[in-house]
Amino acid sequence: MNRSRSRAALLVAVAATTLAHPAVLGAASAGAAPSESPAMVRGAHFSPDTPGVDVYLTGFAGGTTHIWLSDVGYGDVSPYRRLAAGTYTVAMRPHGAAASTPAALSWVLKAQPGHAYTTAAVGMNKQLHAIVLSDELTPPGAGDGRVRVIQAASRAPRASVTAVNGPVIAANAAFGTSTPYRTVPAGTWLVGANSLATPKVSTHADLKISPGAVTTIVLLDGKHGGITLRSVVDAAGAAVAPVGAVPGGGGGTAPRPGDPGWWPGAALLLGAMALFGTVVLSGPVHARRPRRPSAAGQ
């Protein structure tokens, strides 16, 4: 089997180099140097006494600046956006301030391909600073969700967040911190938040922890005093993901390596198709598992 694979690879390589068909060459080079998948980024404002801001992004490579989020206020969490992987400067200005004015706060975001990030301004205004969190993308177990808490309530210097008749999600979390993700059975939980400092404040809310999803619970200062809870979905998936591979073919076009007349025929077919310019070999051509010409032709 391995011998026939390398023979197939050799055939493709010979066809590509000797006949120099552009489509074949393009496929081969695309396989050698694939460009990267984008990262996913969202922005948030968790500074209770800081007014609305505009947020700008500047790529280190290229350096063009554009406004990313407009009029982000305390408690806002933006939708995710895709971003070419790379390093960026994030800059914050008061809402409506000209892009030419000095940034009130700026920081660096390193975005890796395929990864997700939440970046935010946190703390009280006089200690305003930025954070970048990596958002989890690994699947929870069946029937579970993954949950973290961002504690952004200044009226609760320290707080616990607990699902009633369920797990403690954050214990003694200080204002301006976030917890690691933990597993919580999926469902709509009555979640309570209690400050551990004086004056005591507390709140509760029905929060949905979706199965197969990753959720962030945010503890905020309330609109009319006290504290309040919100949840945002970081990443969603199937409640029950399929297990393993996917069946998908009857084999009617599969090559039969055992057939005695297959190799000469395939070589002729490939050569002829390349010559007439009809071969479209897409995707990577790699030695381990080369794409074979099918018996049915292409």
Partner: protein, 231 residues
């Protein structure tokens, strides 16, 4: 439980300094200015790729962003509400001439995905993510029948950037662009990578590829094409 520990005061920071801090950061010298995670901070080398990792650098410019005069006033805006996409009814991939109805698929008793019932029609995993909603929506199709090509025969010919359209029952069409085309041996299928949670809408177009095991009547590999929602 770590507290926020600002390393900088409110002194004015020039943009050049911000860029310099960025260069230092990208060079691997994490200049973390605050701690935003509970528990003790891991060593810097472990911090960058970790799930709860924190890396940020920045400080406020004095006076540029004054505090609200009345102090904290609560959330600025109500929490947004999300709506669910309609059921997908058709898949169109112009680059490879695919235009197929979509049949709903479930899981078999061994929790594997039910194969589409027809060679020439693709199916979508109806207990999973709907195309257009956040997460990986799964669409499966046969590469061939027992006698010739089937609906996803030319899936292998797709390239990054090719357009994939999903028509929803409401008539709305959502547009995806191909990001990656990957081949996995079925006995080492990366379930978490293919089906794991995602922040934004994605498609997983899946068919068979590789060698055909004539004894098992099954191909040995899966071809997985990832599409990203175009907004």
């Amino acid at each position: 439980m770590g507290r926020i520990r600002p390393r900088f005061g409110r002194a004015v920071m020039l943009p050049a300094a911000a860029i310099m801090a960025g260069v230092l950061l990208s060079a691997g010298n994490l200049q973390a200015t605050a701690r935003w995670m509970s528990g003790p901070a891991p060593p810097a080398a472990q911090r960058a790729p970790g799930p709860a990792a924190m890396k940020a650098s920045g400080r406020a410019v004095a006076g540029a962003l004054s505090p609200l005069p009345g102090g904290p006033t609560g959330p600025a805006h109500p929490a947004p509400r999300s709506t669910r996409s309609a059921v997908p009814v058709r898949l169109i991939i112009p680059a490879i001439g695919v235009d197929t109805a979509l049949e709903p698929l479930g899981l078999l008793s061994d929790h594997t995905l039910q194969p589409p019932s027809r060679w020439d029609t693709a199916g979508w995993y109806a207990d999973g993510v709907r195309p257009g909603d956040a997460g990986p929506a799964v669409i499966a199709g046969h590469v061939d029948s027992t006698s010739g090509p089937a609906v996803f025969y030319r899936l292998r010919d797709l390239h990054r950037g090719d357009v994939v359209l999903i028509r929803q029952r409401t008539g709305r069409t959502v547009r995806f662009a191909v990001d990656t085309i990957e081949t996995y041996p079925k006995d080492r299928f990366p379930t978490a990578r293919v089906y794991g949670p995602r922040p934004l809408p994605e498609l997983r177009l899946i068919t068979c590829t590789g060698d055909f095991d004539t004894n098992a009547h099954s191909y040995l590999d899966n071809l997985v094409v990832t599409g990203l929602l175009v907004t």
